[in-house]
Structure formats: C-alpha cells, structure tokens
C-alpha cells in the first residue's frame, strides 16, 4: 500500500488530485505581506485575478516550505502503515527539498519499516504535469511503486516542454533560467524560447521576434522533437492567457491531428510568479531531452 503525493508546482489542481488519488503538497507564494498556500487557502485557483495582478505590477515572491510542514504531510501516511511515492518538481529549482530530506530522515528513524520514494520529474509546471498524469494512470491501473519507478527511469526524459515568456523581468528577478544573459535585459517584442533540460534546469535556447513567430517556433519543436505524440497528452500551459492557449490548440490540431489529446493548463501561481503573465508553452512526448 502506498500513497501518491505531488505538489502544487506541478500544476495538478486539487480537483484532479482528488480524482486520481494524489495528495497535494502546497508550495506557497507571497505578496503584499501575505503568504498564500495554493489549495489550502482556497479550493480553486482564480488565475484571472492573479495574473491581472501580475500585469498591474505586483511581483510575488515564493518560499520554501519547512521541515515541519513536510512532516505534517508525510507522518500520517507512515503512521497508517503506508509508503509514499512523491512525484515532485525539479530539485534544481528550489531549496525546499533539503528540508524535505531532513523531514524524511527524521521520520525514517521513527518509522524504520516505512519507505519513501521521490520521483523527480526534472521539470516544473507542465513538464512535471505530463509525468504526474502518466503516473496517475499507472496508479489507477494498480501498478506498484517499483513498476512506476522503472518506467520513470527513461520516460521522465521523453517529455519536452518549450515555452516563451512575455516579460523577462520576472525571470531576471528569480534567476532561475540560465543562458538569459544580461544582454537579454530589454527584449522589447522579442521573446526568449526556454526549455527544461534533462537536469531539470530551465535554459534559454533562442529568441523569436513577435508572438506569432514565437508560437511558430514552438510548433516547429513538435515537428522536430515529437515522438508518438498521439499516444500521450499534449499540454498547453499558459500564465493567464486562456484565449492564446485556445488559438494554439487549434493550430496544433490543424497541423498534427484533430484527435490529439490536448489539455490546456493554467500555470500555478508559484511558478507563474517566476515566468510572469502571458507566457505560453507546449509539452509533448518527445525524443530524449538534451
């Protein structure tokens, strides 16, 4: 018996988590002196209000959760005799996992017979979500932790996310993208194209002039890197740009197939605080990530 965990940084909503059977760890963000825990302080994420607030100039910050908070999530499962499989966002992106390790080490002393497994999706938002969904499918199909981990060894690297960001000030502040040299400080009308590499880090890999060209660049990546895209979900994450996501969905269907399983995803507020509003991406099954 085991319990599946994921976190709000993977973009899984509370409703979906309940449906699949995931427990959700809440990754907080703060602004104007308030710290908010997604899906603990509210049931549903009001993305419009949130991204409008970012457009109006608010720059939220994000923070790691502490050891005690992790213990409060994990201990009840161990106490009930259940092991844990936690499908989480990239370790490269937050110091929070050090706190998690400490919590797990402490719990292991108390519950030596219990097992904890972390599955690093080497990504965040949609990059993680496609793996979270696949693991959810396997969980529902009754697969064991071992089977899931065996699958993840290769498959974690066979999903690729490409996205563009509208306003670089968010990324500059967070320092979480490499290759975004200071030289790219004021890219007016030019959008950086960013991907997540196999190490789970965000890397800027090019630029596109204008939104239309940026979208075209994403579509070209599907063409170039896509692998059996029809057998898996295609995710279109967006930071508060649902109309744009709908447009892109239509373009993907037109070019790659009407019957594709496309899911539009609202990027969670914590990750959104780093990308800024009006960004958009495409995540699909691909050849191995670089």
């Amino acid at each position: 018996m085991y319990t599946l965990f994921t976190d709000s940084d993977t973009d899984l909503t509370l409703k979906e988590a309940r449906e699949i059977g995931y427990k959700l760890i809440s990754m907080p963000y703060s602004y104007n002196g308030k710290t908010i825990f997604p899906y603990e302080d509210y049931e549903e994420f009001d993305s419009k209000t949130y991204y409008d607030m970012l457009r109006a100039g608010t720059l939220p910050t994000t923070s790691a959760i502490g050891k005690e908070k992790y213990i409060s999530y994990f201990e009840p499962e161990f106490a009930a005799g259940r092991d844990i499989l936690y499908v989480h966002f990239s370790r490269e992106m937050s110091a929070t996992f050090n706190n998690m390790d400490e919590a797990v080490a402490e719990l292991k002393e108390k519950y030596p017979e219990r097992k904890f497994y972390g599955l690093d999706t080497k990504g965040i938002t949609a990059q993680s979500l496609c793996i979270v969904y696949e693991v959810g499918d396997m969980y529902k199909a009754g697969k064991s932790i071992e089977e899931i981990l065996e699958w993840a060894k290769t498959e974690v690297y066979n999903f690729s996310l490409y996205f563009f960001s509208e306003d670089l000030k968010f990324f500059h502040r967070s320092g979480r993208v490499s290759g975004l040299a200071a030289a790219m400080g004021t890219l007016i009308g030019v959008r950086p194209i960013i991907t997540m590499n196999a190490e789970g880090k965000m890397v800027a890999i090019g630029k596109a002039r204008g939104r239309k060209k940026a979208i075209e660049t994403l579509l070209q990546y599907i063409e170039e890197k896509g692998d059996h895209i029809e057998d898996h979900r295609i995710l279109i994450p967006n930071t508060g740009a649902p109309e744009l996501a709908a447009e892109v969905e239509a373009l993907v269907r037109e070019r790659f197939g009407r019957d594709l399983n496309i899911v539009k995803v609202t990027t969670n507020p914590t990750a959104g605080a780093h990308c800024g509003p009006d960004g958009l991406g495409i995540c699909f099954h691909s050849v191995k990530r670089d």
Binding site: T35, T61, S63, R209, R211
Partner: protein
Amino acid sequence: MSKRVLDGALFESMVKAGAANLYAFREAVNDLNVFPIPDGDTGDNMYLTIDSGASAPSDGPSGLGEASSRMAKGMLLGARGNSGVILSRIFAGIAAGFEGAASADLPAVADAFQNGSKEAYGAVSVPVEGTILTVFRDAVTFAGGRVGDGSDLGTYFEDLTAEMRRSLERTPDLLDVLREAGVVDSGGAGLVYIAEGMKNAIDGVEFTYAGKQSTGKAAKPIDIDTFKEDTELQFGYCTEVLIRLQNKKTDIASFDINDFKAKLEAIGESVVAFVDGSIVKVHIHTMTPGQILDFCQQYGEFLTLKIENMMLQHNETTIENKTEFKRKKVHKKIGVIAVASGDGIKETFRSLGVDEIIDGGQSMNPSSGDIIAAAEKIDADYILVYPNNGNIIMAANQAAALYDKAALEVIPTHTIGEGYASLSMLDLSGADIDKIVADAESYAEGILTGMVSKAARSTEMNGVNIIEGDYIGFEGDTVYSDSPDKCEAAIELGQKLGAGDYDVILILAGADATEEEADNVKTLYEENFGDSEVIMMKGGQPLHDFIIIIE
C-alpha cells in the same frame, strides 16, 4: 615557531589584523559590488562590521571563548549590508564553537570555523552559491580536511586562504550576474582580505590596526537626483534593524527565528535574520519598509534602524584601484559598437549587449576617428559596428579599413529601427563569426522605420502638401503624412506603411513628445492595427518625435 594553540589574545589580534587588511583593500572590494543589487559598498560594509567586533571594548586579557564571543557580539551590533551580516554570523558561529574555552587546539579551531559556515548558511533564507557563503564553506572544508599531525595554525590558514582564493575565482562560474559583469563576488573578496590579514597575525607579520577608521562614506554624498519624480522604485529599500525582544510582547524563550524569517520572506527579499539571546538582527530588501517595522515591532523594540533607498547612487565615480580583483575588462570574442542618441535608446542598446555607444545620428554624424576611439575601448577579436544611419555607414567602413587591433565588421544598418531589430535577435555565443555577421545583417532586413518630425519648410513631396511647422511622417526619403498634430501624422504614417500586416510595432517616443502624446499614439495604433503587438517606449531621441519600428 609553529603555533598549534589558539588563545584569546592571538584571536583578537587576528581579527584586528583582518580588519586592518580589509581596510587597506576595501575600495577594491567596493569596486566589485554587483550582486545582488546595489545596496551600498560591500567593502565598506564588511569593514564596518568586522571593525565593530575588533574594536569592541575589552576589560583586559580574556580566554578564547570570552574574546571571540565579545567580538562576535560587537559585529552583531555593527553588522551592515548583506555580506556584513553574513560575516557577523560566521564569527558568531566560530564564537559558539569556542564557547567557554580558554584556548583551542587546531582540530577544535577547524571545527569552530566549520561551525561558522553552518551558522552563516542558517541565517540566510535562500542561500545563493557563488557568494561569501560558498567561499567560506569551500575554504573551511578544504583546510579542515588537511589538518594532520604536521599541521599548525600557520599551515591551516595557508590552506584556508589558498582555497578561498580558488573558490573566489570560481564564483563567476556559479553566478551568471558575476560572469556577465566580469567580476568575482565582492563579499567573497572581502572575506579573502580578512582571512589573509588574520594569517598575517599568525605569521607574525606586522600590521597597524588603527580601529574605527572612517570609510570616507560620510564624505561621499548620495546623489538624490538619481531618483526622480517618475523613477520607478525597482530595488526598494535596504532595511536593517536590530530589535530587543520584549517580554511583554513575546515569549523570548520560545521565539522561533525560522518562522520569523519565513514571514519576512513574504514582505521582502535577500532576507538575512538571526537571533542572539534577546537581540534579533534583520537585513532585508523591501518595497515597503513600513511593513517590516510594523511586523518587527510586534516582537520587541528597535535598538537601531537603517533604511536606504537602493536606487540612489553616490555621485562620485569609484576610484580605479590597482589591485588584482578590480573590475577587469574581460577579453571577448565579439564586441559591439552602436551609434545612437536619446537616453532611452542608449539604455536599451546597452541592455542588448552593446559595449560602446557613440552619441550621434541624423544631426550629428560621428567620424571614422570616433568609431576607432570606441573600438580602442573594447578588447575583442571581432567588433560589430552598427552605424544605424545611412550617412554613417561610409565612416564606419573607413574605420574598419583603418583599424587593425580587431576585425571590425560593419552591419550596414540605415536606421535605429534596423539596428534595434538586429541587436535584439543577435546571439553572440556562436563560434562562427561569418554566420553571426550574416545573421546580424539578415535580422535587419525587412524592417520599416517610420519617423515623425517637425517640417522645416513648406513644400510638396510624394503628393503630400507639407507646411512648415507641421509634423510629417516619413520612411526613408518618402514623406507619407502631414498634420499639425504629431499623433495624427504618426497614425497616418502607420496606415500608409501597412503597419497592420506586421507582427510587432515598436514606437520610440522622442524627447519632444509628451507622455500624453505617447499614450495617445499607442492607443491609436492599437485601435487601428489590432493584430499587431504595439509597444511604446521612451526613446528620448532628439528631432524625431516618434520613431516607429515595424517588424
């Protein structure tokens, strides 16, 4: 004689020697200050921090535990700036390692220093690697691992300082902002000077500790004109407070510094906070210092307060210092020169990676000599030259033929618009210079640059009746619109150029266009060319009220 035991007197003289050495090199450290954002001068801040420990009054000879704790306390009270506060934590951690000891042997010293690193990491909410934290941790780990039978304090500090220097040199590999600025971390550099001073005291090198030296900071006035009526508060305030926890406000014994820090994280950034007995030190960068004060006052009362607007600059350029860590001019493979006028345009070009900007354009064409003078300032194998004006291309080509210290590659841009379009798409990281030049040229193609200016005389051109004093809209040599209203001239120009068929319209408002006029033009363009992205920015250029770059 080899020293294997550290006592209070020696440690005190080491800290004094560290302070004296940092004082001597503080300007070199100030010069490196690029991270995370300007919050005062790192060298001065670290010096004032360590000196408030070194000069903490003593009642005569004392044991190691007592001396180190007295100095750590002094640093706690005097700590300022991000690196200064972290430095004070390093010494607090060391003092905790020496607690109650009259003296310490080498393994105990190594342990105490290790504890200093742990304490420093603990004080920072989000530790950033490539800073003073990394430099100290690397050094104590390396030197601690080499402690053996033949070691003494001298060899330990030799290892410690050698590894610090190596770690310091690695900081640009860990932090993009350092690599781009071509510097090592300033806090780490300050630490190196302190440790080298401490080593001098062990080796018996003479030093002069004057104590409580002025850093000359008071004499260095801030320039309040660097924050104007319309300046946007980007960096906020560096806020530092020292609080005495109050029994009537909080249960001091159960005060949880981690919880306190987590709450501060919600109101600001670069949080460093720690508690020492009933004293809490907070360093934070925040947009709303009032909130910080209100929050802190819930727990106690202030002992000291310091709030500085981080966007104000000192109106004196830093004196170039001839030391090894000074901001070095990095040798680049490819440098870039651009001709431009207008503050907004120049700033944008700089942010796009232009190394040297030559002031000029339509009304002021720089000479080949000006271009060569700009090239002299860049240490690169190749230098791209953006003339950004048809009349300057010749001079640029001539400069390229004359200059022999680097290969000048002229990208023949006829307008600011072409220059912007090319620079914003350029990727200088490639290896093939021919490809980069070809790309740079192709990015500039297919760009229309419309301009709106006041007509100097009445005439008729291209079927447009031009009246002196009216505003005309033109592209290249062709006039498309004339109106007494500059906004109307701008929108008619856009229509004639078919702006709606393009993806991006970037409008640069000139020095003579008011904010209201700029807003008006932006709205008109958005209404008329709904499918395009319309971006308005302050270019500040002379002559042209609007430059309309259509890509």
